[in-house]
Amino acid sequence: MTERDRPPPEAFLRAAAQEGLGRLKIFLGAAPGVGKTYEMLSEGAAQRRDGTDVVIGVVETHGRAETEALTKGQEIVPRREIAYEGRTLYEMDIDAILARRPKLVLVDELAHTNAPGSRHAKRYQDVEELLAAGIHVYSTINIQHVESLNDVIASFTRVRVRETVPDSILEAAEIEVVDIPPDELIQRLKDGKVYLPQEATRALAHFFSKSNLSALRELALRRAAQAVDAQMLDHVRANALGGTWAGSERIIVAISEQPGADGLVRATKRIADALHAPWTVVHVETPRGQQLGKDDHRRIAATLNLATQLGAAVATVPETSVVEGLKRYAVDARATLIVVGKSARSRWFELRHGSVVDRLVRETPGIAVHVLPTETAAAASVRIRQPGTWGARSGYAWMLLMVAVVTAAASALLSILELGNVALLYLLPVMASASLFGLRTGIAAGLVSSLAYNFFFLPPVGTLSVDNPENVVSLIVLLGVAAATSQLTARVRVQADLAAAGARANATLAGFLRRLTSLGDRTEVQRTICAEIGRLFDLRTALLEPTTTGLVVQASTSPDTRLEAMEMAAAQWVQDTGKPAGRGSGTLAASEWLFMPLTAGGHTLAVIGLAREDGGDPLRSDQLPLLTNLLDQAALALERLRLEAEMRDLETVRERDRLRSALLSSVSHDLRTPLTSVLAAARQLRGGYTPELVETIESEALRLNRFVSNLLDMARVEAGALKLRTEPTDLTDAVAAAVHDMRTTLAGHHINLEVPPSLPLVLVDPQLFHHCLLNLLDNAGRYGDPGTPITIRGERRVGELVLHVVDTGPGLPPGTETEVFERFRRLEGSDRSPSGTGLGLAIVRGFAEAMGITARAGNRADSGGADFSLIFPEALLVREHEASEDE
């Protein structure tokens, strides 16, 4: 066995785990009343007839006679009584069943929650224990109780069930869907054949609407199919079927607008499953595609949709011909197998254009071509020819005019022209018509020209007969040139059109991208995505994003967009599965909207809803590739914003954490130290009064007061919205007030005031500015050497006014000039332990910036010491003549 043939170990493990275990079969229903219990009992009875040892663990017949009848003659394990809050509840007796050891036990209502006091909280846990003991179990469940579908279903039925069963239980089980059509179920409900709990009747009446039942049924069938797929995959893995499942095969299947493409897709799905190969459905968009009708587009869209549902990737390739497109895509995708349908085209068509299959086989060496029959013979003949292929009527008029002009010109020039050259002249209208108006007009031009040439110039002139065989050649040449030129120019034109279309799409994409990247605001991006996609496809759009409370419409083209429960369910489905849902898709198609996912990095970031005003299908197949590209770009833009926000959040959280711990240490240190002094001094005072003790209490209390005001101030700066109440302020006043307030703290220093009265008034908030000064003085008092002077100096410079607070002392360590203004930063390298909070200078900067003042720190040039300055720009200065109107 080679490496690649070996089945993956988990397949072995799973099989081994199932040896000796009981097997679980689940009867899955879309809604109550479909007959799950009945079906289970019937199968149980059949097994019993075949000689299997079957017992009924628990069955809820809800008094239905037919169901009741089926339990007759079967062994029922009596239920266990459990007393709970004065009532007696009856639960399945798991111990009795284990002791009885039947081969098969029937357990109704897998999602049931056991009465408190039971061994397991949930019945499915009982079942797991039974299975572990090697007993097979049949059980029943309604689709709404399946964990992963619970939300989706609750969102459109508005009935939420609390009792859910994990998906893993279903994945390990064999599933049988018990299915009856919705109408029949509704009839049964009306006939009173469905058991409903009394209290829930009203809610359930809504639940049993036809649209709900259809949706539920679809979900049930889909869930069952999924289980089958998974089991098949296990089987394939365990047996290493095909030998190439390791991903070496890549399949592409070409589809066209012709009926039968869906069959081709399904067939390819089977091939892909068998090979366990990834597969892509490719639609080559040829120029011919532009002549397709609405129905054709719809069919292509439906086929591509089907493909998506079946797990295929989907691609639309614009190219001049199907073969070229397939070739290019197959090479790009490194495909190993191309699947095509047997052409339904006529032999004539193939003769003219060559068989696609033949050319593919010839031109794609190394790639297998698999031709499948399609059942389209009947449908193909129904196709109506499009009128467009004949060309515009005005084209013919122009062509006739050109031929007439040439004829007139030629007759005028006949005297100097040879007859053969006249024929050459006729090439002009032929080439012009063919290149301007297309093939058919060109050929018509050839015909008309040859007729005119024949009639007006070829002897016998005035008749359509030709007597010189040489002239017959001229005629044929004219026609031939017409055909060749028109083919040639037509192809060139088509290529130009395609290129133009591609360029348009690229330009659209680039424009979209440019608009999105220019936006930094999430709301703007959401709005732009909606508006642009709405505009480009002429649709109503809505963008939904998941929030903590579920999907929420974040933006839409019309503000009154309301999404119904069904639409929200479809959107939720898209969010959960990452696959399209709603109108024109395979899932919840009753919705008016089509929902597409915006995915990046494997996550569905948002869901976009598309709806046409007239209620039609929102998209044509040829629009899908552009939309997909746009959505990819939109998703990337959203992802970019999300990552940016995440980074910011992270940064903020980190900063907050740092601040919090800094604040805590600061508070504990800076509040407790003075408090300790105050307390100690107060206690000592009992022993006797000394002025020093009172002084201590006073100065420490003042320190506390400063610290508390700083905390309050910092909170104001942090809050961001400092309310300014600026007024013209005399710096003399401001400085004097600050020095006065700090007189106790600055007691050991001499204060030099050098604020000349000639300085202009400044526009500041007096309160904030006061606090700036207090903190600067506090700082100078603390870091300046004791006994040295502190100088406050104002000076007028060109364009600004500077207020310095200068101390004498060690000054700032070099390189810390900006750092000092950060919160909780105390200068290291100072051996004195300043009792600062580290808040003061941050407040200085915060308040100063709020008022438009620049705070700067530096060292004195003349001697040791720090020089803090507040720089007022010209705008904050009150000009002299404005203020001194006196007298």
């Binding site: 006043d733 007030a737 005031l753 007096p766």
Partner: protein, 227 residues
């Protein structure tokens, strides 16, 4: 002489106790209220001579009962509050408060304010003609100012401003009040004019104009003439 009676309105027991002992030691009778309701009752029943009002009361906002207290008698009201935003101060003064003291306060300063308020209440009928502030002597009757022995010559505006302050010695006078009294209508918001006049005034009357002690600035509120 009958001892003057002070009503202390504050919800904090310690502050009441502190104010009570301080004022009692200074020779005042003290009555206390811990909430707005009691304050209004006492203000009516006991006719205090001065009221110290805290703004943060448990039952009603102090600013709300301020006008009621003013109406209940002739007693001047001093606001004693931890709120230091200029808006609060101006609002209190506008609502009729006679002065404003911020917590934490200096007890000496508080007593000075109480004295100033009481003096003003007594002289409400006929204001003093002569006010002495430090070495400064202001004669409102003759409009003459002396600093020590020297007569000081003031411009008309300077005198008007100083007169406004001298009419309420020791108490804060708001910018608006001064501007309204000394400038033509429409100048109420032009604080810069007042600032320049005060600056010039200080050059003439203050011993050290860079450390003013006579005309003291009240941040964002107004000026006070220290007596």
């Amino acid at each position: 002489m009958i001892r003057q009676r002070v009503l202390i309105v504050d919800d904090d027991l310690h502050i009441r106790r502190l104010l009570g002992t301080t004022l009692a030691r200074a020779g005042y009778d003290v009555i206390e209220a811990a909430n707005a309701r009691d304050a209004l009752d006492l203000a009516r029943a006991e006719t205090p001579d001065v009221i110290l009002l805290d703004l943060g009361l448990p039952d009603r906002n102090g600013l709300e009962i301020l006008p009621l207290l003013k109406k209940s008698g002739k007693a001047p009201v001093l606001v004693v509050s931890a709120r230091e935003a200029t808006d609060d101060k101006v609002a209190a003064l506008d609502l009729g408060a006679d002065d404003y003291v911020t917590k934490p306060f200096d007890t000496e300063e508080l007593l000075a304010r109480v004295r100033a308020a009481l003096r003003h209440a007594i002289n409400a009928q006929g204001a003093d003609e002569i006010i002495v502030a430090g070495s400064l002597r202001i004669d409102l009757g003759t409009r003459r100012i002396h600093a020590g022995d020297q007569e000081v010559h003031l411009t008309r505006k300077e005198y008007d401003v100083l007169a406004q302050l001298a009419m309420a010695p020791g108490r804060v006078v708001t910018h608006q009040t001064i501007l309204k009294a000394a400038w033509p209508a429409g100048y109420e918001q032009h604080i810069e004019y007042l600032r320049i006049v005060v600056r010039n005034l200080r050059q003439k009357i203050e011993p050290d104009p860079s450390r003013p002690t006579l005309i003291v600035n009240e941040l964002g509120v107004g000026y006070r003439l220290t007596v």
